[in-house]
Symmetry: C2
Subunit: 257 residues, 2 copies
């Protein structure tokens, strides 16, 4: 395979193993230092960033395709994943990528396959970033890393709009179901949780009302105190009560707005 050219092989053998014109893209949210972050992949040939995505195998449900993509990019297996919208505008095609293939007949077919119009099913994921091992595929992409949601490079295709919409959906879900179990390690503090909520909502919340609300929800378990350097008073550590958390997920809660 030539250095500057792609092979049809990057698709895992035959392009026909995948459904044409269909892709999945994932907005992977993490949370660190009071900031929402998203996982992005860097395209080798054009020096630009996009959401981690992939194609759908013919023998695979689309949800499973999203999980597979995420497994490849994060090395994580059971992530919280939610389909939120399918993007099907006419602008969704990639003409640049076509030039990245050799000019053999087989390669031309692959080039045509991939550069044609795509409909993309958008998923968003919530993960504990400390467990993620960002991984580029080394073929189409040569880098994969976290970016601050509020300070990331402009993305390829319509991926900026996909991020925007994912955040909007996440925000609207926040008022009706608990969020946090998937974004934090086992234990966390209430100030941390509040900063997460503030990052998602994009505005500050009253600490006292927030804590009262959280306590009253009955999905938290106090497990000790956080001992850390430079901290004045030690905040309590909490862990989510899984059965109650999941019950709240199913039945819904109300969280102000």
């Amino acid at each position: 395979m030539a250095e500057r050219h792609l092979s049809i092989e990057f698709l895992g053998g035959e392009a026909s193993a995948y459904l044409p014109h269909l892709a999945v893209d994932c907005v992977v949210f993490g949370f660190h230092a009071g900031q929402l972050r998203i996982l992005l992949t860097h395209w080798k040939e054009r020096g630009r960033w996009s959401l981690p995505g992939g194609f759908v195998r013919r023998d695979e449900p689309v949800d499973e395709a999203a999980h597979r993509v995420l497994r490849l990019r994060t090395q994580l297996d059971h992530v919280y994943l939610e389909q939120y919208h399918t993007f099907g505008g006419l602008d969704r095609r990639d003409e640049v990528i076509e030039r990245m293939f050799d000019d053999t007949r087989r390669q031309r077919a692959a080039a045509a396959w991939i550069s044609d119009r795509f409909v993309s099913i958008g998923y968003y994921a919530l993960v504990d970033w400390t467990e993620v091992t960002p991984t580029a595929d080394g073929v189409l992409t040569d880098d994969c890393r976290w970016w601050d949601l509020s300070d990331h490079p402009p993305l390829l295709f319509d991926h900026d709009a996909m991020v925007e919409r994912a955040l909007g959906v996440l925000r609207s879900h926040l008022g009706h179901q608990p969020i946090g179990l998937n974004l934090f390690p086992e234990t966390f503090t209430l100030p941390q949780l509040q900063r997460l909520y503030e990052a998602i909502l994009g505005r500050s919340l009253d600490r006292r009302n927030f804590q009262k609300k959280m306590r009253d929800l009955g999905i938290l378990e106090r497990v000790g105190e956080l001992r850390a350097a430079g901290v004045r008073r030690a905040p309590y550590l909490y862990r989510f009560d899984r059965p109650r958390y999941e019950a709240a997920l199913r039945e819904g809660i109300s969280m102000g707005r």
Copy 2:
């Protein structure tokens, strides 16, 4: 074209004018006599019912494909349409339809095309049923009519699940945005509107609180009284104040639950 066989022509010429493996299906909600109703199409060859659906042209956004499908089945142009979920399980294929094609090579290709696995983008529509002219295509389907949501025949493929999910989404939207403008004629009464809400939510509401709530929303305009036979007291007729209704759509409201 043989009587009992389909032609590739039903796809509007070349099958290749459409994206393979991709479909749109619409759950069209109407409201009549206190009941939610959905529009279903009857498949000629198997004597069973399904949601109205269709394929996506290569030169057409998926939202536009949904509108086109709806235009064909209802003769209506600007319906309220919302994408709510994309269904991509492995069971979504149609093996029966394959036998409905002639055995010419071209027709076999079409048979393979249509009988392969499909991913379907689900939309739901809200329409004033009095304006709809249900229309079957006469090729794949020979009937198109309204059914009570609570009393319709079992549907083909996974369409029962698609209806179920559409209703769930509609229900959850009900608490955050006004609904009704698209389901009623120009004018309607508050008791009618309440019955619509009750049909969607699946439970009865308090008439007094409902009316107070609706009045306070400030999206209604009183335009007279309804004179009807057999009615004791004449209810007032209302019309939605469009600008205010649309503002409520954008900004969201809270409607109990």
